[in-house]
């Protein structure tokens, strides 16, 4: 039962101290460790599910493991940083189609293709100064790609990111974008 460690940790952190963050510091560390270990174990379940949902014609190709980026709230995803290509798969757990705006921190500029080969329109905007200054943030990403994803009910879409060129991005803004600073 690969998700037991996560479900057990989630059970533990229903305690009111965990919900509100009023536990002792050592207990907070223990909660964080339990959740982190549980999430790490549950990623295997995600991969096993996508192995079934993403069948390959050529079985000799190895499975490409999926991984989480849990620090995208501070625009940090180190494994994709500097890569020439990567994929983003979004799973919609609700029973209806949804639209969702995605932010992907990047060090290069990418063309984004959907599963049918269509280019997705995306905006490249700078990561805000307060984000860049967050203590402990290790990312070199200075920009983020934002696009709208339409996800089917209880389904997923995969987006393929392919680098446009190998030059590192500066803090340059597209001509179409408007910036007001006061």
């Amino acid at each position: 039962n690969s998700i037991f460690r996560l479900s057990e940790a989630m059970g533990v952190v229903q305690h009111h101290d965990a919900v509100s963050g009023t536990e002792k510091q050592e207990v907070a560390f223990d909660y964080a460790m339990r959740l982190a270990e549980g999430i790490d174990a549950a990623v295997d379940v995600i991969n096993k599910a996508y192995d079934k949902l993403l069948p390959k014609d050529n079985q000799s190709l190895p499975n490409v493991p999926q991984f989480l980026c849990q620090l995208t709230n501070i625009s940090e995803c180190l494994p994709i940083e500097g890569q020439d290509r990567f994929t983003l798969t979004l799973w919609n757990p609700t029973g209806h189609t949804i639209s969702h705006h995605v932010r992907v921190p990047v060090t290069k500029n990418y063309t984004i293709l959907d599963s049918t080969g269509h280019v997705i329109l995306a905006d490249l905007i700078p990561i805000s100064e307060p984000t860049k200054k967050i203590p402990g943030r290790k990312s070199f990403a200075m920009n983020q790609l934002i696009f709208k994803a339409i996800l089917p009910a209880l389904g997923f879409n995969t987006y393929y990111f392919e680098v446009k060129n190998n030059t590192l991005l500066t803090n340059k803004i597209n001509d179409e974008q408007e910036i007001i600073i006061t």
Partner: protein, 286 residues
Amino acid sequence: KDDKCILQNEYLRVEFDCQGNLNKIINLKKNIVVPFTAQGFYWYTSFAGNNSRAEFQASGAYIFRPNSSDPQPVSTKRSITCIKTATVQSAIIVFNDWTSQEINLYDNANILEVEWTVGPIPIDDNIGKEIILRYDTDIKSQSKFYTDANGREVLERIRDYRPTWNYSKVESVSGNYYPINSRIWIKEPNRQFTILTDRSEGGSSIYDGSIEIMVHRRTFYDDALGVDEPLNETAFDDGLVVRGRHFLIIESPASSALYHRVGSQQLYMHPLATYALPQLSYVNYS
């Protein structure tokens, strides 16, 4: 290129003045205007106490006990950067080194996103601080506000009142604080202002038309209720940085539930993002 920063799509118009103050949010479809007299970060000073449960109990892990009912603004000025693209329009408002907010209006969105960042809270002055994000409107809420109980039933809260006993006001702020597990709102006959939260927080409506939500705190004293530690996060050199989001809905009371129920489900059951590094060209990958 303009004096004012205005975020606008087909549903909402959000106006800021040149000093970075949120002036008003307009629901364009319903022609509902909600002016804001103030919006931003404030802090309460934590009561120091004497490590007892009696009269001088300190503000600590379990107890929120400010020593004044007037919170201080975290800064006297702020800077605003406004970015507009086809997908998103953003106002990034920096209050000081440790508080900022990014207000985002996405295309086709009828909910306004406020992403707040607080911390590390400075404690060089040896004063415990409890940080709130406050939204002051002109809505005549008549002492009433509404918060959910564990994401389930939303209950009516009335300032300085309890439905089952005669309430004597002692703590004017903390005595009116309630858990906000998913949402809080205030309303009048034709306007409702709802805030969805991305996590459990505490909050209140201390004045008519006002909603305040506590987002971070750092205290020096234990409240003698068993934790035996102040909420100081001294294990981290400078304290913690916390980032979260509020989602603002301006609607009529009759139709607000349609938006906050759908919005809260999308928050709770948000898409799961996973990445992969296939060493294949798109043609071969697809």
